[in-house]
Amino acid sequence: MNYYAGWLFLVVASLLVSIAAFIWGLRSGQFADQDRARYLPLSKDLLDEPLVAAGSRKRKTNAAVLLLIVLMALAAFAAALLMSIKDHQIG
């Protein structure tokens, strides 16, 4: 028991902090007006800022590059999975 004392203390301390914060949130009405909370990042000064959307070429280039990244990553994950499954079957 003593062996894992430091680690256990850390996990228990973390849990206690979470529970305390949750109870405080519940009691102080933090989870009540959730619809208004959605608007909190927005502020009046945004109304004075110009709202500009990118042109279609810029959008397409960005989106295509991001899509390529996703495909590359998915291929990598599939490769690792296949290699490990193959090895597992042989093993």
Partner: protein, 465 residues
């Protein structure tokens, strides 16, 4: 005193500036490491340039200096915005800023002189650890007082994440660095490995992740000019990440004699991480949907969008590589280094830069010095990150496959040499990106404007917006 000058958002501004400068140092250290991999003898035996010293300098500069500083700077700003209350004490903020930066400098200099505590991301010596803990405590007090005095009753999800990051990081830093053992910063045996990896895992999962998510939750609705899709969902994500992320650090130690129950907890928890991650990404996606054009246009929004994409990929890869059967191929090779860069830089670093570019002009009241330079930086870093992921993953799979087939480690080294060469070359993109970013950010903080862009702005808006 000038160093502690009280000015609105001065703390946030200097944290962001510091981040840009640490980024340059961090990429240069990375390049030295990459050079060692290609040509181990090239730099001779210069003690302060050996791999064993520069490698931990690189990781800690990036985590704490670059990404950490930018996240903390953004957090100081966001806290005030969402709570509709100025920071409780800008002077205390400046004190924490200097303690933070001096501790990082101390940790790095002593590492370079050969003083290391030898545990990953916890290498810094005791005085630097105490400085970091003190900085976190001071920032926490400042944010707490700001929250106590807040004018907005409801705490927006970003502020929950910021508080969680400050409290949890303090706890894991304290325990993970075993600060009650100043000489070693460690305990002993297997429990030390477990503690060390709860720390290593916590640093990315409970320091970088919540702060980066807090920024995304702030920037995304603003760039989209739309309310968050669901605040309730965001809180579900918040509480589930706290419950799951805090105890899965053992997935770094699946190949060691850790008790099985801890491994089971780690693997199942890693898979369950899909829940909080998907709530964040689903919620933000539904907020952005139909408004992506604004994100492609706004440089801050664009960095955040790319960061979120890396977040999905990192957290898709994470549960896969937490499976013991997959780790037989991926553990202890360059595959993990690809994941590390994708998480720390691709996700947290890119969102931190997005927050920086979004927030800095709002602090200085002037536009970014040059949007074009920021754009060049974006592409260099996106290309660099993709290149890194590709080359490290491929190299990792070659290593993993060879080991599975019984090759000895030394025979696999020539096989991956070409990958190391490409990796060093791709690293140059990062160095370039960091240098351009630092120049742009220093000029922005000084309030300068690139002449060509100022002329263009005048033509479009009639005045500098």
């Amino acid at each position: 005193m000038q160093l502690l000058k009280v000015e609105t958002n001065g703390t946030a501004k200097l944290f962001l500036l510091g981040s840009a400068l640490w980024f340059v140092l961090g990429t240069l250290e990375g390049l030295v490491c990459a050079t060692h991999m290609v040509a181990p003898d090239l730099l001779g035996g210069i003690s302060w340039l050996v791999f064993g010293r520069i490698r931990p300098m690189h990781t800690t500069t990036m985590i704490f200096g670059f990404v950490g500083s930018a996240l903390l700077g953004c957090a100081c700003y966001i806290m005030q915005e969402v709570l509709r209350t100025p920071l409780w004490s800008e002077r205390l903020g400046k004190v924490s800023l200097w303690v933070w930066n001096l501790s990082i400098a101390l940790g790095l200099i002593t590492l370079d002189l050969g003083y290391s505590q030898g545990r990953e991301y916890a290498e810094w010596i005791w005085p630097a650890d105490i400085g970091i803990l003190l900085a976190f405590a001071l920032i926490f007090v400042n944010c707490l007082q700001t929250a106590i005095n807040r004018r907005e009753k409801i705490m927006y999800v970003s502020s929950w994440y910021i508080f969680a990051a400050l409290i949890y990081t303090w706890l894991i830093y304290f325990f993970g660095n075993a600060v009650w053992n100043p000489a070693t910063g460690a305990i002993f045996g297997m429990p030390d490995a477990i503690l060390a990896w709860f720390y290593g895992h916590g640093i990315v999962g409970l320091f970088l992740t919540p702060l980066a998510v807090a920024i995304a939750y702030f920037v995304v609705p603003r760039v989209a000019r739309a309310p968050l899709h669901s605040h309730t969902l965001s809180l579900i994500g918040f509480w589930t990440i706290l419950i799951i992320y805090t105890h899965i650090g053992t997935h770094h130690l699946l190949q060691t004699p850790v008790p099985t129950w801890l491994k089971v907890l780690a693997v199942t928890g890693s898979i369950a991480m899909i829940i909080p991650v998907m709530t964040v990404l689903g919620n933000l996606w539904l907020t952005m949907r139909g408004r992506l054009g604004f994100f492609h246009q706004d440089i801050g929004g664009r960095f955040v969008m790319a960061g979120l994409l890396w977040y999905i990929l990192t957290c898709l890869q994470g549960p896969i590589q937490a499976l013991p059967v997959v780790q037989k191929v991926t553990h202890l090779n360059n595959w993990v280094i690809a994941h590390s860069h994708m998480g720390v830089f691709g996700f947290a670093g890119t969102i931190a830069l997005g927050g920086l570019y979004y927030i800095l002009p709002r602090i200085t009241g002037k536009p970014i010095y040059s949007i074009r330079l920021a754009d060049v930086q974006y592409w260099l870093l996106l290309l660099g990150m993709s290149g890194f992921f590709a080359v490290l993953t491929a190299g990792g799979l070659v290593q993993g496959n060879s080991w599975l087939n019984g090759e000895t480690v030394y025979r696999t080294v020539p096989m991956v040499h070409v990958y190391f060469i490409v990796r060093a070359a791709v690293g140059l993109l990062f160095v370039g990106g960091a240098l351009i970013g630092a120049y742009n950010i220093v000029r922005t903080v000084r309030g300068d404007q690139a002449p060509a862009e100022e002329r263009m702005r005048l033509q479009v808006y009639g005045e500098t917006p």
